[in-house]
């Protein structure tokens, strides 16, 4: 498995694995989303239906540990005061990981990402980004908001809760999280970065 560099010179190649289905989230650096080589949306459903990324760019799969009552949970909150817009949040937990992977979480301080979280109906929810009415990728991305560790609990000890989201005191998103159609093969966009075994 190779690590692809993102901004600030940090490697970002986490591939944390755990059992279970749909217990994962795909992350993509914001700059790669905005520079996507091509994308299409469906005029009827409005869903994002196709996405290609610049050469060497790919999704990063972070798998979520069990047990966890949070798992992958995408939320959004409209702002009632200050700047109008939506706040996106993606809340998940990783299983026990090694220091090198904690170092990658640390690198999130310097980078905004967009997140694709799987839904039960097969679609995905894109947080931190959206597509405008002309078909252009938009968004300001998600940043690390919380990384509290629960170290010693008998059930969930070692899990690393991570919350990434829109920064409240800055610009907001103009759209709630966007729907990514189930026909879009995100796994293929992440395949080069997923470690097997």
């Amino acid at each position: 498995m190779g690590c692809s560099p993102i901004s600030k010179g940090f490697a970002f190649c986490s591939n944390i694995k755990a059992a279970g289905t749909k217990n994962f989230v795909y992350l993509l650096p914001l700059e790669d989303w905005l520079a996507s080589t091509a994308l299409t949306v469906d005029g009827t459903t409005g869903n994002l239906t196709a996405l290609t990324l610049p050469d060497t760019k790919e999704l990063f799969k972070w798998e979520v540990g069990q047990p966890s009552n949070l798992n992958v949970n995408s939320t959004f909150t409209p702002v009632t005061g200050g700047l109008n817009g939506y706040i996106h949040n993606v809340d998940f937990r990783t299983p026990f990981i090694d220091q090198t992977q904690i170092d990658e979480i640390t690198s999130m301080i310097y980078n905004a990402v967009v997140a694709f979280t799987p839904l039960n109906n097969g679609h995905y929810r894109l947080s931190g980004g959206w597509v405008d009415s002309d078909g252009n990728p938009q968004g300001i991305g998600l940043r690390m908001k919380n990384n509290d560790e629960i170290l010693n609990d008998a059930t969930i000890g070692g899990l690393i809760p991570i919350v990434i989201g829109t920064v409240e005191d800055g610009p907001k998103e103009f759209s709630p999280p966007f729907v990514v159609d189930k026909t879009l093969d995100l796994a293929a966009l992440a395949a080069a970065n997923v470690e097997v075994g």
């Binding site: 080589t37 299409t40 469906d42 078909g135 159609d181």
Partner: protein, 64 residues
Amino acid sequence: MYQIIKGTKGSYVFNKKRHNFTSDNLNEKPKSHLNFLEKLGIIKKLDKDEQSSNWGDSSSNEKG
């Protein structure tokens, strides 16, 4: 004649500039752009049967 494989509109980056396209204006794009999109798997070339079917529809509209 080309058509979008999935969806009805979108955008792409060609020569460092982002362009928009729709099902309606796709075939007005330069050939180099269409080749690029076809290589990415975003659009496909209609086969001859589909093309003649479309052309037939078009000519019938002209007569009407």
